[in-house]
């Protein structure tokens, strides 16, 4: 397995919800400008893991984390890390799209505005660029004042991606981004991910193995809080090394 450049490195990562251990000794290197998919049955820890990458688990009571997550050489769990700055660098897209109850324009401009940007011309540019990069500009450009909630499910999801892109992250985390969408909207999201990886490092959690196969460069198979196998997606879906991986991807369990 060839990894040209590392963006994120999880080292000896363990996570506990109270007494229950949800992540066991995770060691994972996530390459830059690639799509890494996390697959595994329900409850295997993949969503918990992705949330450690932008410290979203901090928001949950009773969570204890041991080990490190190093992004661009810095351990994000070190004392003194500015979590807000961290989350600017790392955008997150959720299974259920969550546009703000605002106009399309204001949804996308929200992040830059919060960061102090007031210049209308610059905001206009950022909004347009972000909507273009999220492959939704042509569909909404004639009515940016329309409410984000008035869009279809697939469009809302792309709006959320535009919103994430507006603060110029380096990493995009996607937790089941297409599982609530119909096949056509799903195909659009998948094709978008394929384009986005030219400029962003992407980590995607999906329970849809075929989606992982179609869209990702690397795949990590999680089971009961551990990584069973991690390799180029091609290898995982043609000649996996572990029997448990093979059993999972062939649908023999999980």
């Amino acid at each position: 397995m060839r990894i040209q450049s590392t963006k994120i490195k999880a080292e000896n990562l363990n996570l506990f919800y109270g007494d229950k251990q949800a992540l066991r000794n995770i060691n994972l290197v996530i390459p830059a400008y690639k799509v890494t998919a996390l697959i595994g049955p329900s409850g295997c820890g993949k969503s918990t893991f992705i949330r450690t990458l932008n410290r979203m688990n901090d928001l949950i009571d009773n969570v204890r984390i041991e080990g490190s997550v190093v992004i661009d050489g810095t351990d994000i769990y070190k004392k003194g890390i500015d979590v807000v700055e961290l989350r600017k660098k790392i955008g997150m897209i959720f299974q259920k799209s969550n546009p703000f109850p605002k106009s399309i324009y204001d949804n996308v401009a929200y992040g830059p505005r919060i960061n102090g940007l007031r210049d209308k011309k610059v905001l206009d540019q950022i909004v347009e660029q972000s909507l273009r990069h999220a492959a939704i500009w042509d569909e909404v450009k004639d009515d940016l004042k329309k409410s984000g909630l008035a869009l279809s499910g697939g469009q809302q999801q792309r709006l959320c991606i535009a919103r994430a892109l507006a603060v110029q992250p380096e990493i995009l985390l996607m937790d089941e981004p297409a599982s609530a969408l119909d096949p056509i909207a799903t195909a659009k999201i998948e094709e978008l991910i394929y384009e986005l990886k030219k400029n962003y490092t992407i980590v995607i959690v999906t329970h849809n193995m075929q989606q992982a196969a179609r869209v990702s460069d690397f795949t990590a198979f999680f089971y009961l809080g551990e990584i069973i196998e991690y390799d180029e997606t091609k290898r995982i879906f043609t000649t996996p090394k572990e029997k448990r991986t093979e059993d999972y991807v062939t649908g023999r369990f999980g």
Partner: protein, 224 residues
């Protein structure tokens, strides 16, 4: 804009088709050169056929790998699936056509070394027809034209007749003059290889019909 982008899967299918077409044109060239070597008594052309073998073989491996990846990673269905399944068979057929062209080239080499010449009887006609069948089968794939494929299937009977004709008449000559046996055996081998090339071309044509119409017409099934 997502809707204007060619899906990256479609790019992979296009790249697969392009490689198959490339392989087909090298195979066509090999068949043509091997016959020209015989007609012009030119051994250097035969050597070029042997060079082409390497290119054909490495394309076969590349295409095989691409097919495995597409099946594993893209889960093609309907016409895409039929294309992939057909592509795998066409890939194998083209590699074997390349092998038969090499066999012809090697037979030409041995004929040119032999002492006694023999007239070529209907071999030139057979070669022309086999080349035409190969070219048409590949064109039918490029243009997705099952009508052209059907025309290829019809030509196969003529090839079989010509093959039998060559065999009978060469055997007669060999009986008359033992010194012509080496040359005669060479001509019979060439005829047999041309018959195989024609047969493989009909396979390709059958695969094109399968892609376009989801009909399997092998072994006369299309007549029912």
């Amino acid at each position: 804009m997502v809707s204007n982008m060619q899906r990256h899967f479609e790019q992979e299918l296009d790249s697969l088709k392009t490689n198959l077409i490339k392989m087909g044109s090298i195979a066509e060239e090999s068949v043509r050169l091997s016959i020209k070597a015989l007609l012009n008594k030119d051994n250097s052309l035969a050597l070029r056929v042997i060079d082409n073998e390497e290119r054909i073989n490495s394309l076969e491996i590349e295409i095989d790998n691409a097919i495995v990846d597409i099946l594993a990673l893209q889960q093609p269905v309907a016409i895409d699936l039929r294309l992939i399944l057909a592509a795998q068979k066409i890939n194998n057929d083209l590699e074997r056509i390349g092998d038969h062209a090499v066999n012809i080239a090697e037979s030409v080499e041995s004929i040119l070394k032999a002492k006694e010449e023999l007239e070529l009887i209907s071999l030139p006609k057979m070669a022309e027809l086999a080349e035409k069948m190969l070219r048409n089968s590949l064109d039918s794939f490029i243009h997705n034209d099952p009508k052209l494929s059907m025309a290829v299937l019809k030509d196969d009977d003529t090839i079989d007749d010509l093959n039998r004709d060559v065999f009978r008449r060469v055997v007669d000559r060999m009986k008359d003059n033992q010194r012509t046996i080496e040359t005669g055996m060479g001509l019979i081998r060439i005829s047999r290889n041309l018959e195989r090339i024609a047969d493989l071309s009909t396979n390709i044509a059958e695969e094109v019909i399968f892609i376009a119409q989801a009909r399997i017409v092998k072994h006369g099934a299309g007549d029912k």
